[in-house]
Symmetry: C2
């Protein structure tokens, strides 16, 4: 559950040098700060077998976008971002808990190019160490020194339940035929966007933001997360494989009901919609032929442009929310640039 | 993970009328209060597929010992036990989360005579609905109105991590040869006793107990939980099947490294210890013959009596702790009677 695409986009970029200057540079200081905190907070507790899988998955890297963005949320209001490090760790632990259990549910053998936890340590260790990481996330959050700690935990907890709900919806959609676009948007919001959103809100609150500013940042993150996922749907179908870092058409090959697919069903004449459904249920068809046929339908209906319009709608909402935030002078540009770079990426 | 035996002892008692008068009667009012709260708090949220397994496992019954004992902890200091109902629900949700994930790890087909969650709803639903129940436990606890809510969450969280550690130790012991008695006692403490202990502590604190009294109740619960598990080890080998409600020798058949087994390895002459190990690793032996041979070793070394002595040691610690608690006049007798009845049970 939760944000695998967000992660994979960053991690599997064809080579690290390609990452555009403006994309990560603005959050780089926070990534470095967090990475060093992580290094100093490896689990050394006993029994070793319980904590080793957590250290393992955390050591597989990742750009630490969620903790970095939490620290960035703090920095909008206050310099002492180190006070948000335990909360940033909580968010990263929660994310990794969700990856470990998600990989079991997907029977995924690899994560970030390495064996998944259940693949390396066994199913039972995958379940139990995931459970422990979820509990450790709360433990880390509880270390935060803030008069609003109860409110922070409530926000975190609500997010955690929503991510579970998003994962359940995603599982439901695999077997459901009649998924609406509205339901799809709600699913990606729950599964991916709310974690980014709550990371920003929590960081802001620890940094001393007013509740309304923190809530605006939540809206910034929520809309940005949805826009991001729509961009990912587009790139998966239309991206340049050399830049995207993986074969395009992967979602089509896996019969994923993306925004593009659902948009066809919404607007296509019946015959064309039926043809798309038939392609998605076909067992025997050659994969490359299938991808080509589906892309042709997307092109006939101008689906790429329609999806981009939807993406920009959410992106604009996110920027509007950010513009309304009352932060220290000059500090918002970092997140503005980050958001623009995320949207303009072609990988 | 956590307290399966405590549960099974109660649920699989041969018939409900057999349960001795003094055993549950003292907590009966709290069971009834909790059961009615549970009935009014069934999950009606969406997506249905996420919450249905939680309603299912909660509906399978159980004596609700943990929530009842939490309410009893509250009642020692204050009449308004309904203020502890959300915390009692948190404890029951946590217990059921652990049952669902534990059943997956044990590949158990049945729970309380009904299909386990993963058996009925599938592996992925078992994992995900278990995760949701853990999050819902925090959500319920967060509803508690108490100036000490942060402290309560910290206690709960520490317990949750300890239960994971206990489950990991139990898994480790399955393949380890050199488990010490000390390690075994620590494992049952973590896996079973700390949840009972923290339920009492949290209930007491919500009821307005001083921290030292709440901590004494924690010690009461912790020691009682360990004594209980030792009693369970004894009954599994020496209980009267008619009263115990299941075949005796189940632990032996499953090669479980119980206190009885580990005590033999500690005190037996080498030849006898080796014989026991051989019986436990034998693949071909008839089960009834194996149980008989192991019981013979237990009897030769007077293991039943030695285990009873250890059990009574912990039981005395628990009663001592309870005696030191400064509660409202006359209210401790309920828990004293409950503890004595638990220890004297022969089922």
């Amino acid at each position: 559950m939760g944000g695998r695409k967000l992660e994979s986009m960053v991690i599997f970029a064809p080579n690290q040098n390609y990452i555009p200057y403006q994309f990560m540079q603005n959050l780089h200081q926070f990534q470095v700060t967090f990475e060093s905190y992580l290094e100093n907070n490896k689990f050394k507790k006993s029994p070793r077998e319980l904590y080793e899988p957590s250290n393992y998955i955390l050591s597989l890297g990742g750009k630490r976008i969620r903790p970095a963005i939490l620290l960035a949320g703090h920095y909008l209001f206050d310099d002492e971002v180190q006070n948000s490090l335990p909360a940033a760790f909580a968010v990263e632990l929660f994310h990794n808990f969700s990856l470990v259990h998600d990989d079991i549910m997907d029977a995924a053998p690899l994560r970030r190019g390495q064996p998944t936890v259940h693949n390396k340590f066994g199913l039972n260790s995958g379940i139990l160490s995931g459970d422990a990481m979820l509990v450790l996330a709360y433990e880390s959050l509880l270390q935060t020194e803030s008069s609003q700690i109860v409110h922070l935990i409530k926000l975190f907890n609500q997010m955690a339940l929503q991510v579970c709900e998003g994962q359940q919806l995603d599982m439901n959609f695999e077997t459901r035929q009649n998924v609406s676009i509205e339901e799809y948007l709600r699913m990606i919001e729950l599964k991916t966007a709310v974690l980014v959103a709550v990371a920003l809100e929590i960081g802001a609150l620890i940094g001393g933001a007013k509740k309304e500013d923190a809530k605006l940042l939540y809206e910034f993150g929520r809309n940005l997360g949805i826009a991001f996922q729509l961009q990912d749907d587009i790139l998966d179908a239309f991206g340049d494989p050399k830049k995207f870092g993986k074969k395009t058409g992967g979602d089509i090959a896996q019969n994923k009901k993306t925004y593009l697919y659902l948009k066809v069903l919404e607007i296509a004449p019946t015959a064309m919609a039926e043809k798309l459904k038939a392609l998605y249920t076909s067992q025997s068809m050659d994969e490359a032929d299938k991808i080509r046929a589906v892309l042709e339908i997307f092109e006939q209906l101008n689906i790429k442009k329609l999806t981009e319009e939807k993406k920009e709608e959410f992106w604009k909402y996110s920027i509007q929310a950010l513009e309304s935030v009352n932060a220290l002078p000059g500090r918002k540009s970092m997140l503005e640039k980050f958001a623009s770079a995320l949207m303009n990426r072609d990988f």
